[in-house]
Symmetry: C2
DNA sequence: GTCTATAACGAGATAGAC
DNA sequence: GTCTATCTCGTTATAGAC
C-alpha cells in the first residue's frame, strides 16, 4: 500500500510546520506566530497550510499537543530510579528544564495567555497524563489530596515563571527546585514509618 | 494660571485611555489591546492617541506604570500592622489579590509575554519599589539573601500563575498563601531569640 | 489637540483552477 | 495537495489641514 508513505509524507509536512511555528515563537514570542510567516519558512503558500491545520488556534492546539508529547516521552526516556521522592525530584527537574529551556512552552502549556486558545479534549488529555503522573508520585509519598497537588504545582510554576520572566538563560530560580521540594515534602508529607 | 487645568485635562484624558486599554485587556486578553479599539472606546480617532502615547509599546509601558502605582498606593492605604511576619503576610495577600483579580496585570507586571515590551527605566523603578519593600520585610525576618527573595517571589508568582491559568475567579491556589508563607518562614528564617 | 486622509503592510480565511 | 487570486478586515504610524 502507498497509504503508509502518503500518511508519512503528510505527517512529516506537519512536523515541518510545527517546527517552523516553534522557531518563530522562540525567536519572537508566541504572540508573533502567524500563518503567513510559518508558510514562508516551510516554503508553502499560506492557504496551503489549511490542508494541515484548520485555523490558527488549531495550529496552537497542535503545538500544545506536540510539546506535551515531547515532554511525556522525555519523562519515559529515563527509567524510574530510586524511591518516590527521588522520582518526583527527577520528574520535576525534567519538566522545569523543559519549559525554562524554551519560554514559549511555559506560556503555551502552563499559562493562559493566548486570546481565544483552549486545548482540545485530545490535547487536554495529554496534559492530564502529566498531572496524573505527578499526582501518582505525590500519593506514593502520602500526599494524596488536591491541596497537595495544588501546592506542588504552584512551586513548579513559580520557579518556571520567575526564571523565564526575570533571568532567561540563567538559573537564579531553577536552582532552588531541590530545596523547595525538600521543604514541601518535609512539611506536607507524613513521615514514613 | 490655566496651565494647571490644561495639565489636568491632559492627565484625565490619559487616564481614560488607560482605563479603556485595561478594559480591553480584561475582556479579551492583553494581546487583544489595539490602538484602534482604545480610540473607539474613548471616542477619539486613532491617530489622536499619539498625542498621549508615542507608540503601542509606550501604551503598555504606561499601563505597566499605572498598575504598579495602583498597587503601591494600595499597599500604603493600610498602615503597617503587627510584626514583620504579619506585615509580610498582608503585603503578599494584597499583591496576590491584585494580580489574580485581573489576570492581565499578572501577565504585564510579572510575566514577559508581550513581544518587544520592556518597561522603561522610570516604570522599572516602580517595580523595584515593590521588590525593595518585600526585601525589607524579609530582611527584618532575617531572610536577607538574594536566595530568600527569589524563593519568596517564586511562591507568590506560582500561586498567582496557577490561579489565573487554571481556576480563574476561584481560590484553589490563593487559599494556600498563608500555609506556604508559614512554611517558607519556618524553614528559611532563623528563629527569633 | 484633534481631525481627515492615507500610506504601508499584515493578518486570517475562502474560492476555484489544476 | 498545492497553487493563484482575492476578500475582508485589521493593524501601526505619518502628513497635513484646521
Amino acid at each position: 500500500m502507498t497509504t503508509q508513505t502518503i500518511a508519512d509524507r503528510r505527517s512529516r509536512r506537519l512536523d515541518q510546520i510545527l517546527t517552523a511555528a516553534w522557531a518563530i515563537a522562540t525567536e519572537a514570542g508566541l504572540g508573533a506566530v502567524s500563518l503567513h510567516e510559518v508558510a514562508r519558512r516551510v516554503q508553502m503558500q499560506q492557504p496551503s497550510l489549511y490542508g494541515y491545520v484548520s485555523s490558527k488556534l488549531d495550529l496552537f492546539d497542535a503545538m500544545f499537543a506536540q510539546a506535551y508529547e515531547q515532554l511525556l516521552s522525555r519523562l519515559d526516556a529515563v527509567p524510574p530510579a530510586g524511591n518516590a521522592r527521588e522520582q518526583l525530584l527527577q520528574l520535576s527537574r525534567t519538566v522545569l528544564d523543559f519549559v525554562v529551556d524554551n519560554p514559549p512552552r511555559q506560556q503555551l502549556l502552563f499559562q493562559r495567555t493566548i486570546p481565544g486558545f483552549e486545548p482540545s479534549p485530545a490535547s487536554y488529555a495529554l496534559a492530564r497524563r502529566l498531572t496524573d503522573r505527578c499526582a501518582g508520585l505525590l500519593a506514593a509519598l502520602g500526599a494524596d489530596t488536591p491541596a497537595h497537588l495544588e501546592v506542588y504545582t504552584a512551586v513548579l510554576a513559580g520557579l518556571g515563571s520567575q526564571q523565564v520572566a526575570n533571568d532567561p538563560g540563567g538559573d537564579r530560580w531553577t536552582r532552588h527546585l531541590e530545596a523547595m521540594l525538600a521543604i514541601f515534602i518535609d512539611h506536607f508529607v507524613p513521615p514514613e514509618p
